[in-house]
């Protein structure tokens, strides 16, 4: 019987880690080179999901379901955070007429 019914044979966890690191690097590049807020939020989601992929791999490696549970919790929290961020940026857009990342320079006070 496999760990979650998904993995049908022995699987190298190094491959999962490699994929996770690659996705994290892609997300960081995308975040650093983003000019719009939506792209920045998508990049943050990519980075969170790479971490969660690593967490699921480790959870499957140790045969402990707590990691998979924590993955579900983190997914929900990330969704809530994205909702709050988008509504904040909509409020900024209404006040300033633009919601690019350069508008956030106003936060310097």
């Amino acid at each position: 019987m496999s760990a979650y019914g998904i993995i049908s044979g022995p699987m190298n966890i190094g491959a999962i880690e490699f994929l996770s690191i690659a996705i994290l690097s892609i997300g960081i590049y995308s975040f650093l080179s983003s000019k719009t807020i939506i792209k920045a939020l998508i990049s943050v989601e990519i980075m969170i999901n790479s971490g969660l992929l690593n967490l699921v791999g480790a959870s499957s490696y140790y045969g402990n379901a707590a990691g998979a549970d924590m993955t579900l919790f983190v997914l929900v929290i990330a969704a809530a955070e994205t909702v709050v961020a988008i509504s904040l940026f909509i409020a900024v857009f209404r006040k300033k007429g633009s919601a690019g990342l350069d508008v956030m320079k106003l936060l310097k006070g």
Binding site: I13, I26, L32, S33, F73, S87, L88
Partner: protein, 79 residues
């Protein structure tokens, strides 16, 4: 300029993590077929017994996020 810096930083992070961190994290780590005792209902069972308190807290977090989004997304005119 900013783009090139982003590419350099991302590649640097990738190389550092794959060469220094990844080999030492799980040495010859292979997820075997009989990996542990995680059965089909284990995730749900844990969520509704051990982690029932975080589960309930998350329901309130979602409610707060929904109310906050409704408040922040409200237009000036229609009250």
């Amino acid at each position: 300029m900013k783009n090139k810096l982003a590419i350099i930083l991302a590649i640097l992070l990738f190389v550092v993590m794959t060469t220094f961190i990844q080999p030492s994290a799980f040495p010859n780590g292979v997820i075997s077929i009989n990996a542990g005792s995680v059965g089909n209902g284990a995730i749900t069972h844990l969520m509704f017994t051990t982690y029932i308190l975080p589960f309930e807290i998350i329901t309130f977090l979602l409610l707060a996020a929904m109310l906050g989004a409704m408040y922040l997304g409200e237009r000036e005119g229609d009250k």
